[in-house]
């Protein structure tokens, strides 16, 4: 409960803050600070128990399938971290209240800050590595938001993106690492994992686990060469820098190393990777820090260096080194947060952060200067401050470390780093606070209000206390936390300023002396460096990013260009390649044993007609009237084939559909440009022809293979047997359509209905007509007399035929669909012959209604069977004996078919009428030129 509250509290605060973004600043601060304070209070209450060796834990089942549980625990290490997060969080909130200007979006700022705080607490308290990952990535996200808080500044946006890219990327590696770790350990619960070091380290996955985990930790903790994002994260408001980018978030990597120390450390690989990375980072960061002029950059590089130090210590793999690391976490948090706040004050009051333009601030801001000096001293490792003790411990450990077989290497290098850190710390204190007075260009130039000062006072007091009375204020905590790091009781802990005259003290002294010396001789080196262009990681990162972006964009642009021809080519090619592959894999597609039917002369002639007509369509593709004529031949031959091959329904349908299609094309054709130029080159046409040829041969061969196989009529035999007996219909095809597979037909008419609607919509709006008119003048005879008269005579006859076809469909070729097409054609014939009547505007609403009502009739027929406790679309039929008339079959299927017919008439008429309407509009526009053209 306590743990859950601890984790949820900041999130709740964040949510309240974001929902009440317009609340007063004080109220917002109270909410944010209150959440931190309450958390801190809870932590203090829990501390005694935890430090006594009984971790708190809470288990909440979340995703058992993944082994992802909301398992929380509070062990000493977690306590240390949570305390840091909440404590500094509280101070930062207070500080931010003073720091942020009145107009700033405090609510948004604090809600992001709380979001971050929650994520960090989550990391500290996670007892499940997958849960830890969740919070881990959340810190990257909230950091992104906070760095980009001043959204109008380009450096803020860039810094935020870079931080997200690097830390987020590292987080992804960490995901892989944790998953592998869980796999190797057999559990994602930390307690279990930590107990299985031997299993994990024996696993072949261990190197991968280690490297991936380190990628996560190193990116987050800004270890070389992933350090470059951190200085740019300084674009964030200073409270953020103090909180995230020095005291807490960047230490998440260190925390992770500490957390997994029992299971991952004490191997050579660990030592080499972790210790040397830390060492290099420590040196590198310190060296760069010395030559930066932006106060925040100096602190940022110093942070990199200090993080390197902690990583190196953890890398040593010894309990004592781990102790030093843990203690330094504490120290660094105190002095670095204080320093950042200090910089924030300076920036706030003077309007600049350039150390070259500042100096002698001690006179103007004595309190600020005092606090800064003390914090810097701790950073330099000067007694009697906490920094001194941890640096001593570090030196002590480094003398025991053997790198590359050389025992002197590590002490020398760490001393060098310490020298540099003394130098930059001194530079900060002397350059900024003392010496010649520069005061920047703006601001009030005096100590700020209590809100900005108090937090650093607290921190500096802690930093001093950590030096003077370390055992009292941090002893138990550090001991216990180290205990959790090393997985057992901590080594005898003795934190004190004075350890006697040992090598460590010697190195410390050397470092201070040499550091002062270096600072004194710094200027020439700085001048020399200024003339050199050192490789800049940010610039490299940006260049790499930009180049990746440009290249990807170019490639993606080319690949995804609007090119239907390419889409189709790829589609055909994929189908062909896969089908060919499938054939090869299976050894072929074979001719079967079914006896073939000899072809008659008529069949051969018809076939010839089809082949030639198809070829002609392809050849005359650009001459549209001709192409349509030849297409008509193709349709005719296919209809004939259906007649010959025992498919009267198909023949009927084919004939009726063909003519509607042709009418449609004729209507549309008139408005398309005539004989457009050829588009594709000869090689392209050859390529397409080849593709077409292969597709054709393949499909033909497949058809051949099917047709020559003995028939498998398992399902349709049932249809044959049950058609008359079960539905009263003799036309099995029709019965299949309206009964066995009526569901298909329902879908099919819906397709047609939708096509009608879609086409209606396409032609509905006042289309801006700009159609090139043909040169050929038209005949003035709009409605040829013979045609008009004959069409009128044909109308009732055609309707009669349609009705006949509809009624007999169940037993003989025909049915609702064909009947409807006949109706439509008959009506359309009137338009063709006599033009639109004055009702044509209104009849489009009828077409809508026909479609809608048709679908409703078909569906309602289907639903009718539900009343009789039968499934949807169950048919029913019977024979009614009527006087005079005799036996009459009544089948629900007929009603269904009526629905079909209604939809088809509606859709077809809608399409044709709507298109006719458009051509009329076009004609009206062209009418004037027509009259002129005809002599």
């Amino acid at each position: 409960m306590v743990l859950t509250t601890l984790v949820l509290l900041p999130f709740v605060a964040a949510m309240i803050l974001s929902l009440y973004a317009r609340a007063g600043r004080v109220a917002q601060m109270v909410i944010a600070g209150g959440a931190s304070a309450v958390g801190l209070g809870l932590l203090l209450v829990a501390a005694p128990t935890v430090l006594a060796g009984t971790p708190l834990s809470a288990q909440l089942t979340w995703v058992p399938a993944l082994g992802l549980h909301a398992s929380l625990w509070l062990d000493p290490l977690g306590l240390l971290f949570a305390g840091l997060i909440l404590g500094i969080g509280l101070l930062v909130v207070v500080y931010a209240h003073g720091y942020l200007a009145k107009g700033e979006a405090t609510g948004r700022f604090l809600s992001f800050l709380m979001l971050f705080q929650g994520a960090m607490i989550g990391i500290a308290l996670s007892a499940n590595v997958l849960l830890l990952l969740v919070f881990w990535e959340l810190t990257s996200l909230s950091s992104f938001l906070l760095i980009g808080f001043w959204r109008d500044r380009p450096e803020a946006r860039q810094g935020a993106r870079m931080a997200l890219a690097v830390t987020g990327g590292g987080g992804l590696a960490l995901i892989a690492g944790m998953l592998l770790l869980g796999r190797a350990a057999g559990s994602y619960e930390l307690a279990t994992i930590l107990a299985r070091a031997d299993i994990v380290q024996a696993s072949p996955l261990y190197p991968a686990i280690l490297i991936l985990t380190l990628l996560g930790a190193f990116t987050k903790s800004a270890q070389f060469p992933f350090h470059f994002w951190l200085p740019h994260a300084m674009a964030a408001p200073t409270p953020v820098s103090a909180y995230l980018h020095s005291a807490t978030m960047v230490k998440a990597g260190v925390f992770l190393l500490a957390r997994l120390w029992p299971v991952l450390s004490s191997t050579d690989l660990w030592f080499y990777l972790v210790a040397s990375t830390g060492l290099v980072t420590m040196l590198f960061g310190a060296a760069v820090a010395l030559f930066r002029n932006d106060l925040k950059a100096i602190l940022a590089y110093s942070t990199i260096s200090q993080l390197g130090l902690m990583v190196m210590l953890l890398g040593f793999g010894t309990p004592a080194a781990a102790t030093a690391a843990v203690f330094h976490i504490l120290n660094h948090a105190a002095f670095k947060a204080a320093l950042f706040m200090n910089v924030g004050i300076v920036d706030h009051e003077t309007g600049t952060r350039d150390i070259r333009r500042l100096g002698g601030l001690a006179a103007l801001m004595p309190i600020t200067a005092t606090l800064g000096t003390l914090a810097a001293a701790s950073m330099a490792g000067l007694p009697p401050l906490g920094g001194f003790i941890s640096k001593e411990m570090m030196f002590d450990q480094s003398t025991h470390a053997v790198l590359a077989g050389q025992s002197w290497l590590v002490p020398i290098l760490t001393t060098l780093a310490a020298v540099l850190s003394v130098a930059y710390a001194l530079r900060y204190a002397i350059g900024l606070l003392f010496g010649r007075t520069h005061v920047g260009e703006a601001g009030t130039r005096h100590d700020p209000g209590i809100a900005m000062l108090a937090p650093s006072v607290v921190l500096v007091v802690i930093a001093i206390a950590l030096g003077l009375i370390p055992m009292t204020i941090a002893g138990p905590l550090v001991a216990a936390a180290t205990g959790s790091v090393v997985g057992g009781r901590s080594p005898d802990l003795h934190l004190a300023l004075w350890h006697g005259l040992n090598p460590a003290f010697g190195l410390s002294a050397v470092a201070v002396g040499a550091g002062a010396l270096v600072l004194w001789r710094r200027a020439p080196v700085a001048d020399w460096l200024a003339t050199r262009s050192a490789p800049d990681a940010k610039r490299m990162f940006d260049a790499a990013m930009r180049s990746a972006f440009d290249r990807t964009r170019r490639v993606s642009g080319v690949v995804h260009a609007a090119a239907l021809q390419r889409y189709l080519f790829v589609l055909f090619a994929v189908a062909i390649v896969f089908a060919t592959g499938a054939t090869l894999t299976s050894g072929g597609v074979y001719t079967g044993s079914r006896p073939r039917i000899p072809a008659s002369a008529v069949a051969i002639v018809a076939w010839l007609g089809l082949i030639v007509a198809t070829a002609a369509v392809v050849i005359v593709q650009r001459h549209r009237y001709l192409a349509l004529l030849f297409l008509g031949v193709v349709g005719l031959v296919i209809a004939l084939a259906f007649v010959h091959l025992s498919a009267p329904d198909l023949a009927l349908t084919q004939i009726a559909v063909e003519v509607v299609t042709i009418l449609l094309m004729l209507l549309a054709l008139n408005m398309l440009p005539k004989s457009p130029p050829t588009l594709s080159s000869i090689p392209r046409r050859a390529r397409d022809a080849l593709l077409g040829g292969v597709a054709g041969v393949g499909t033909g061969w497949l058809a051949w293979a099917v047709m020559t196989r003995p028939a498998v009529a398992a399902v349709s035999a049932f249809h044959w047997a049950n058609s008359y007996a079960g539905t009263g219909g003799r036309n099995v095809v029709n019965v299949t359509l309206v009964d066995f597979r009526a569901f298909d037909t329902l879908g099919e008419i819906i397709v047609l209905g939708i096509a009608g609607l879609a086409i209606y919509a396409l032609l509905e709006p006042a289309v801006r007509v700009r159609i090139p008119r043909s040169n050929m003048p038209h005949s003035p005879d709009r409605h040829p007399m013979m045609l008009a008269t004959a069409a009128r005579a044909l109308l009732p006859l055609a309707l009669l035929v349609g009705l006949h076809i509809f009624l007999r469909g169940h037993n003989a070729p025909g049915g609702g669909f064909v009947a409807a097409l006949v109706f439509s054609i008959a009506i359309f014939m009137q338009y063709l012959a006599s033009g639109f009547g004055s009702t044509s505007e209104r009849r489009r609403d009828y077409d809508h209604a026909l479609i809608a009502v048709g679908i409703l009739i078909a569906t309602a027929t289907g639903l009718g069977s539900l009343v009789f406790d039968a499934p949807f679309l169950s048919s029913s039929f019977g024979y009614v004996h009527l006087p005079l008339i005799g036996e009459v079959e009544m089948a629900t299927a007929t009603l269904f078919d009526a629905g079909v017919a209604s939809v088809v008439v509606g859709a077809v008429m809608m399409i044709l009428a709507q298109l006719g309407h458009l051509t009329q509009r076009v004609a009206r526009i062209g009418a004037v030129s027509d009259e002129q053209a005809v002599p």
Binding site: L179, A582, H848, A852
Partner: protein, 508 residues
Amino acid sequence: MTLADQLIIAPVVIPAVVAPLTLLAMLRQRGLAVGLSLAGCVAMLAAAVALFGLAQDGAIRSYAVGGWPAPFGIVLVLDRLSAAMLGLSSALALIVLLHATLTAADRKGRHFHSLFHFQLLGLNGAFLTGDLFNLFVFFEVLLIASYGLMLHGQGAARLKAAVGYVVVNVVGSALFLIALGVLYGVTGTLNMADLARRIAVSGAADEGMLRIAGVLLMTVFGLKAAIVPLHLWLPRTYVATMPVVAALFAILTKVGVYAMIRIVPLLFGKGAGALAWMPSPWLFPAAVITAVIGFAGVFVAQAMRKQAAFALVGSTGTLVLAVSCWTQATMAAALFYLVHATLAGAALFLVADVTMRRRGQYDDAAVPSPRFAGQQATGVLFLASSIAAVGLPPLSGFIGKLFILQTTATTSNWIILWATILGTTLIGVIGFARAGSILFWKASPNGADPIDSPNRSNADLIAPTILIGLLAALTIGAGWATAQAQATAAQIFAPQRYITAVLGSVPR
């Protein structure tokens, strides 16, 4: 038959009644039509939830349309998979419809509501049917409705893109029919369960043809799912259409994946002998490239809709990566991710819509603009939906990806798979961060007057917020959802139960 038995037909019948009714109502009174449409959507969601509840007992229910038993008639099959898909599509539909109505996007044409319900009809039919030809029919229904919806609002760009979309899909349908023809020609049946049974006992002489039918089916499904290289149509189409329509289309690509999940384990699963898991050799590499191409598109996209479209491609790639392993465990992960990816993709489009309607001439282009009304709220929604889309915590995408990574860890390709998923996540993160920081942070010119927005209402924020809420709920309820996914996967990988449920236990 009990009412519960009859309920299976509801997801098809409700839109089949509502769509024509709204069409009729629209001729008279617009308000009535909109009311009908919304009510229909709610009813459908209710039916879907009820069916989902029904499927919880693990039984597979078969509904013989017209009373004709399988394999002779068409059957609908309710199992965990179809129930989940129905629930997903109904929920998404209601949210999208709400958004369309609230933002008056539905007023851009007369048929929006009818087309919308026809679209749902096609989707639901496709999810429920147990007959392969019927699946084709419902594919056509959902396609042609999608053409209509895609054109909603019209405009030159939309028309041009629609030509490509329609033509490609018409060709896809042709391939589908050829595959169906081969299957019928060889086995004499179209019922999926019956096909499974017959393929399992088919001889070597038929192997080549069945294999061809299989790859053609996979090509068609791959086209619908937009798997590389068959994805080329998608970005153009989804960018050209109205974002609210594209949001609904988020589920269209999933229909392709659904069909694969439905067909492969059943027809070409472990029982298929030489044909077992036939599509896997090429599906995996295609999925890898799809994920990469998709997120690379997210990385470089210059507008929100384009980014959303590519995110959809990328997420499909991720999804198919998991699917293509064809194990029960990975399938569970895939199913969870499928639900997530659909909602997240839709959220991206809705947020793009919100942005467009507030940003005036700046549209959704990733260029700096003056401040606009509701920029912060929109920004938060964008943040949330992009987090979901790339799969960062705390939203369900992260859990989905973890699930996939975890379950694929024991497959032979796990290194490529993991590298792909994690690498593309990073690319996606960078892309969204770039776009978001330009769109919602950068103001240009600095201090310019805010964009004058004629519409002061914040109603357009409701639907995307609900979607994000659903994603959050999916995260919080991930334990339940993953358990559902596992149970569903278990059902999918026990095809014999499906066959028995449809055809009865006695082999005919």
